[in-house]
Symmetry: C2
């Protein structure tokens, strides 16, 4: 058995994403959706699977629509490690204003997610690629501690944890390779309004790479070696910004895992494909757009991003 | 005499900029400056003169410090058409918050600027390059009507005119080649939150090119032929954002006039040199930084902007 198991390449799990599956209720000036498939792990997985296999670790209640799980499965995502617990599923409700930058959370019912304490089995403990979605930093570290020797660990976070669990979050950041956060969170975590300085201050907390998402203004990447800034794709009509950040992370990490992160320019390309994934995400409600795109769609938007941002000085 | 005058090439005036010279009082969290050289025409001219001759059309009061005029003159700017009027000079006071994006105007004393009605002489009427700084759109059109056959007309505006003189501003826009405005103004003028759509709506008002400045988030350029987005230069420490927009316009237009706007990529490079000029402007109070830079400094920042924004997809 041991021999057999060792024959399986350890990357067979692809990226292991630990996060939430949720039923979202979203209102925007352009429409509304009720109890639709959402959650950080769903958005991440649907973007990342365009590049590489993904195994999803999450919990749902017994009321979670089987059809939603089927759609994820049919998209090629491994759901063998999604726990079905007693009690209702995680539900989130939000409303966006006319400019779609301001979001008001209407309700957050954690339900079964409140007692989510993932225990990885032997296979997952040998995962090489781990994405820690926006969950309690204590839990992020607990999961990270279970994985034997990951090659690449990426994590997300949010203002709530920066405020309520700053020290725990800092401990998590010591042990991850890449942290992805938005501009407001970067300023808040670093207590520094200048984003480049904030990014460097976060680098000093431990991660080798810091990615700062700026919504319609694009994204920045900082490491000891380089600074990079990319525009966002010029989306004509943003219908629902929910999940844009997780889709970005999925495209970003999926590209790195599939193509190797040690090639020159790999991290820059990863930002571009993250931006492309996010740009599709916001064009429809819920995960509808991500379900219908293929890798060539991302590549096309990558080329368009190059067209609108490159210049020569001669 | 006529013969002699005709021998002078019409471009000897270089760019004619019509705007304000002011005495600014500025407070930021990092310091303060009182009664320092400012005004849209000063910032524009000091950036544009790095590329091409500039003739400044403005009015000052008799109290305007001769030393400030000397500094402009020593920077190579033609002040022969600056009128000295009875009464006190234009004074503006503003205060910036900690993130330097929010500005509160403390006072605006138009003084002699209130009755500014520039009458161009025969030489200026033959100007080929005209920059209409942020003044009443009626006045912009009055000046434009005096110039016989300009090759390139660029104008700026502000929220005040968009609100109070929308129809007049629209008439001005029918007759200019390029309009430069910031993101909030573009959204307000087009009544459209999506900046790319707002830019295209403004193109429909008449200008061949629309440039939208986004402060720390860079700038966008739209024309019938192309869409371009550029990052802002990663300034370490913004001391005083006053004049950044006019410096951008000066670097932008100066480059176009000096290098020809019909070369492929010329407008993109102009945006880059505009961004570079603005990045120097904000690093010191008043026009101090612009007085001390040379064209090579802008070119160096242009190369750095390329380094942080370019990527390849292969």
């Amino acid at each position: 058995m041991t021999a057999l198991r060792d024959q399986n390449p350890p990357e067979e799990t692809g990226i292991v994403v630990v996060g939430s599956l949720a039923l979202d209720t979203v209102r925007t000036p352009f429409g509304a959706a009720e109890e639709v498939l959402g959650g950080s792990a769903a958005y991440f997985a649907l973007a990342a699977r365009l590049f590489t296999p993904v195994t999803l670790v999450a919990v749902v209640g017994k009321d979670f629509p089987p059809g939603d799980l089927d759609r994820l499965r049919q998209a090629g995502i491994n759901l063998d490690h999604v726990e079905v617990a007693d009690g209702p599923s995680f539900r989130w409700g939000g409303e966006y204003g006319y400019d779609l930058n301001s979001r008001e959370t209407l309700f957050t019912h954690l339900n079964v997610f409140e007692r989510f304490r993932p225990r990885l089995d032997e296979k997952l403990k040998r995962a090489r690629y781990l994405f820690l979605a926006n969950i309690d930093p204590d839990l992020q570290r607990d999961v990270l501690g279970q994985v034997h020797d990951p090659e690449l660990v990426v994590c997300d976070t949010m203002n709530f944890w920066i405020t309520s669990k700053r020290e725990s979050l800092k401990q998590t950041l010591e042990d991850v390779d890449v942290v992805i956060l938005n501009d407001g969170e970067a300023r808040q975590l670093a207590e520094e309004p200048n984003l480049w300085k904030a990014g460097r201050a976060i680098l000093d907390l431990g991660p080798a790479v810091v990615v700062i998402k700026k919504g319609e203004h694009g994204a920045m990447l900082l490491s000891r070696e380089e600074s990079f800034t990319a525009p966002s794709y010029p989306v004509e009509m943003v219908y629902d910004p929910t999940g844009a950040g997780d889709s970005f992370a999925g495209g970003f990490m999926g590209y790195l895992v599939a193509n190797g992160r040690h090639h020159p320019g790999a991290f820059r390309r990863a930002v571009i494909y993250g931006s492309a994934a996010a740009s599709f995400c916001v064009e429809r409600f819920s995960v509808e757009a991500l379900l219908s795109v293929c890798r060539a769609d991302l590549e096309r938007r990558g080329r368009e991003l190059k067209l609108i941002s490159h210049f020569d000085l001669d």
